[in-house]
Symmetry: C2
Subunit: 346 residues, 2 copies
């Protein structure tokens, strides 16, 4: 059997079976945003790791190195935020092709530093090595929180409200715009070659359309490239007793909420019309003929926090209620006749 | 400038410049085998990370998946050993080509588990993702020790004895044998194709020579593929007051000792004839015409511990004295007219 048949979650299950086993006291292993390790002095260490590979997660020509640096750090600190922890530091492994220009690396590091400073967590170590293929990046982040305060995926209870910390779908729409530009620039390159051969002017008319693409599109692209880890929101939510389960939205609510439901042994009803959408997303979707709700529920990479809380809880951060946790172990999309499936890695 | 010109240590310096900065109290960042983070209760957390890429660190056809699994864990736990820590757990990121057979992964995981169990540290988390190129592996290990007990590279003092925990050079000789076999099997494949075309028997005579390669060669290949992290030795050394500086030997004494000398602001005189060599290495080198001392000092990947200690210290582990720390900031190879340079990554 090849890995594609197994699928990402099948693969994780296989790894858990092969390597899992009884955990030492107080240790939370595979299956949440971070692992949790108890410390002697009433604190807990949180650890998470993520790998980003050229060709799978990014195309070198499509994402500026500085933004890739930011994003590499951000998606990891988001896992610390998802547990309600305070970021402590990070570790960066870089596999770089020998012929890569050092300017690329300097820009990458500048972006990585920006995000690290934003999160208040210095680089503490790492590894550098030559890659025979594309760029390989692995980030491990360390966080900490008071013992018993970190929020897991497994704590949702029937009757909880399902909430998110911000509008969804912007990042997915940004990615669609980036991919369209990529296709367009390839077309331009072909046109350029053709017009050079014919001695004619190329794609001026289309370049004019590019210039009109506008601020909305730029805002969405920025949100795809430069997600903001919700570290202060996560800590504030973890300090609020009525907040139960929590995770960050990396694969889309449709996929991520299922993790909370499975881990907690519950179901949910989501009111699709209550899913928060930015004005930029609504306008771009209207213009492009895209379904904003589908993007918001399935697109992923928003890195907002998804959490459940007892009715009546008043967390000290902005939030949007999108549904309710149910005893029935089903996921119902109210206000829509379709099912939503999140991003699959394999 | 491309990265090759910068070199590995130039690259690390660049990263330190770009991302370094004042560390929080009690935190040791980039520059040793592990980062050290203080805990509230009189303990310290140790963290190290390493990336292994197909084509740079291993060839899929040359190393059995099970041994690659062992080695991926071992080289990381060796960093915990190098500081004198107790391994607590590990995090594994795997970038895998979509068409890879799941048998490969199962064997890899089995080897990874063997080493993790040997070190007493379970897998606590990780990441799995698709690779468009070769296999990418990143391991992060977490360890712990009593505050103030971890051994750094910067603590060597003039007059210290320079010691290693075991014979050196076996792994480098093992790698040379593997590469020769690789070249030989490619030759066989060419011969097979040629003899198929000519309708003749191929390489029976050479296959006979292979069978005679013998147990010595197997032992050296095993030591390359299956290095044993010196975790109990490292903890015993860290518990011995006279032991000063410590690190593990990954790039060869010639390279690694220079890190201790630079970090400590001292020099050393190494008696090359005192460098411990296994009987297997001596015999294979005699047979192949290789210089065992050069392999022992420059080859790397032995994962023995290199440490310095005050004369008269009696650490409770086997060790070999190979030289003395000097006030003069030079590295002198006594008993040899040549200079030795360790492995360079870029």
């Amino acid at each position: 059997m090849d890995l594609k048949e197994l699928g990402e979650f099948g693969l994780i299950e296989r790894i858990k079976e092969a390597l899992g086993g009884p955990m030492p006291d107080g240790v939370l292993g595979i299956g949440d945003d971070c692992a949790v390790l108890p410390q002697a002095g009433g604190m807990e260490t949180l650890v998470s790791t993520d790998m980003l590979l050229e060709g799978s997660h990014f195309l070198r020509g499509d994402i500026p190195a500085r933004l890739l640096g930011w994003k590499s750090a951000a998606v990891n600190f988001s896992d610390i935020a998802a547990m309600g922890g305070r970021p402590v530091g990070s570790f960066l492994s870089l596999g770089l092709p020998a012929g890569l220009d050092s300017d690329w690396m300097d820009a990458f590091l500048a972006g990585y530093k920006e995000c690290s400073q934003y999160c208040g967590a210095p680089l503490l170590g790492g590894d550098t090595t030559t890659s025979q293929d594309g760029i390989a990046i692995n980030v491990t982040v360390i966080g900490q929180c008071q013992r018993g305060r970190s929020r897991k995926r497994s704590s949702a209870v029937p009757g909880d409200l399902v909430c998110v910390t911000g509008p969804l779908g912007d990042s997915a729409a940004g990615l669609k715009l980036i991919l369209e530009r990529h296709a367009l620039s390839e077309r331009h390159a072909r046109l350029d070659r053709a017009s050079q051969m014919a001695g004619q002017a190329g794609h001026d008319a289309e370049a004019g359309q590019d210039a009109e693409a506008g601020q909305d599109a730029e805002a969405l692209v920025e949100r795809h490239y430069r997600p903001v880890p919700r570290v202060s929101e996560g800590q504030a939510l973890a300090a609020t007793p009525g907040v139960h389960a929590m995770m960050d939205i990396s694969d889309g609510v449709a996929s991520d909420l299922r993790h909370i439901l499975k881990a907690s042994g519950v179901g949910a009803a989501v009111r699709t019309q209550d899913v928060p959408l930015s004005a930029e997303l609504r306008r771009v979707c209207a213009q492009q003929g895209w379904d904003a709700t589908t993007l918001a529920l399935t697109g992923g990479e928003d890195y907002e926090l998804l959490f459940t809380m007892a009715p009546g809880t008043e967390p000290p951060v902005p939030y949007f209620v999108i549904g309710t946790i149910t005893k029935e172990k089903t996921l119902v999309w109210e206000g829509s006749s379709q099912d939503f499936i999140g991003f699959r890695h394999f």
